[in-house]
């Protein structure tokens, strides 16, 4: 079975996700994953498991702040790691649906 993506590059079936898949998706976004990226991706995957939602920017910052500390729970830190629209890019790499209501 080939792995399917939607038109915007989000995984259609969340169970197709693997860390290797994350590396592959990140590459198409021009990001080479480091541990700093991965710990954020794990926070977002955990968020999704708990709330069945991909976080928008505001709850993303809050979740990162709660899990990894205030220094990392800042939009500027997330913007550096995932330039552009962090909430959308992280969801994509984490194999989650595109966040709703994202500015």
């Amino acid at each position: 079975m080939p792995i399917e993506f939607d038109d915007e590059g989000y995984l259609r079936d969340l169970s197709d996700w693997s860390p290797e898949m994350a590396i592959q998706i990140a590459t198409t976004e021009g990001i080479s994953l480091t541990d700093a990226h991965l710990e954020i991706i794990n926070v977002v995957r955990e968020f999704y498991q708990t709330y069945q939602l991909s976080p928008a920017m505001r709850p993303l910052v809050k979740a990162v702040s709660l899990k990894l500390g205030k220094d990392k729970g800042k939009s500027i830190y997330l913007m550096k790691l995932f330039p552009g629209s962090p909430a959308k890019i992280i969801a994509k790499i984490a194999g989650l649906p595109k966040p709703d209501n994202c500015i």
């Binding site: 708990t50 709330y51 939602l53 505001r58 709850p59 209501n101 500015i103």
Partner: protein
């Protein structure tokens, strides 16, 4: 900085039977992203949304309770129910999935007065 309008969302629909409950929370989360102060009031059948231990796997639907528990992450903490409604379905605060503020039914009017706009689902 433009003054953000405050919004009260009144929920009077049960979860799962229709999509209203989810749509309402979608609106609430969206308003929060735009930094509008959001208050939620659950009345009548809407109270059923708050019951804990929901397990909709057999219906292949998302767990409403999970979405409710995300409200604090979106800084939505003004969540109201009336004591009268809770009593009328024979439940207590221990049966609810999230912390709520109990108000009297006659306080609903002032809640509506306090907010700039009101939506009902």
């Amino acid at each position: 900085m433009i003054d953000k309008k405050s919004i009260l969302i009144i929920n009077q629909s049960a979860p799962y039977g229709s999509s209203k409950a989810r749509e309402s929370l979608d609106v609430a989360l969206t308003c929060s992203i735009f930094e509008m102060p959001v208050s939620l009031l659950f009345i009548g059948d809407g109270l059923y949304q708050l019951i804990n231990n929901q397990s909709p796997d057999a219906l292949s639907m998302k767990k409403h309770e999970a979405m409710l528990s995300a409200l604090p992450m979106y800084d939505i903490e003004n969540i109201y129910i009336t004591e009268e409604d809770l009593e009328s379905i024979g439940l207590t605060e221990n049966d609810l999935a999230i912390p709520v503020t109990l108000i009297q039914r006659d306080a609903i009017a002032s809640l509506i007065q306090q907010n700039d706009s009101v939506l009902t689902f």
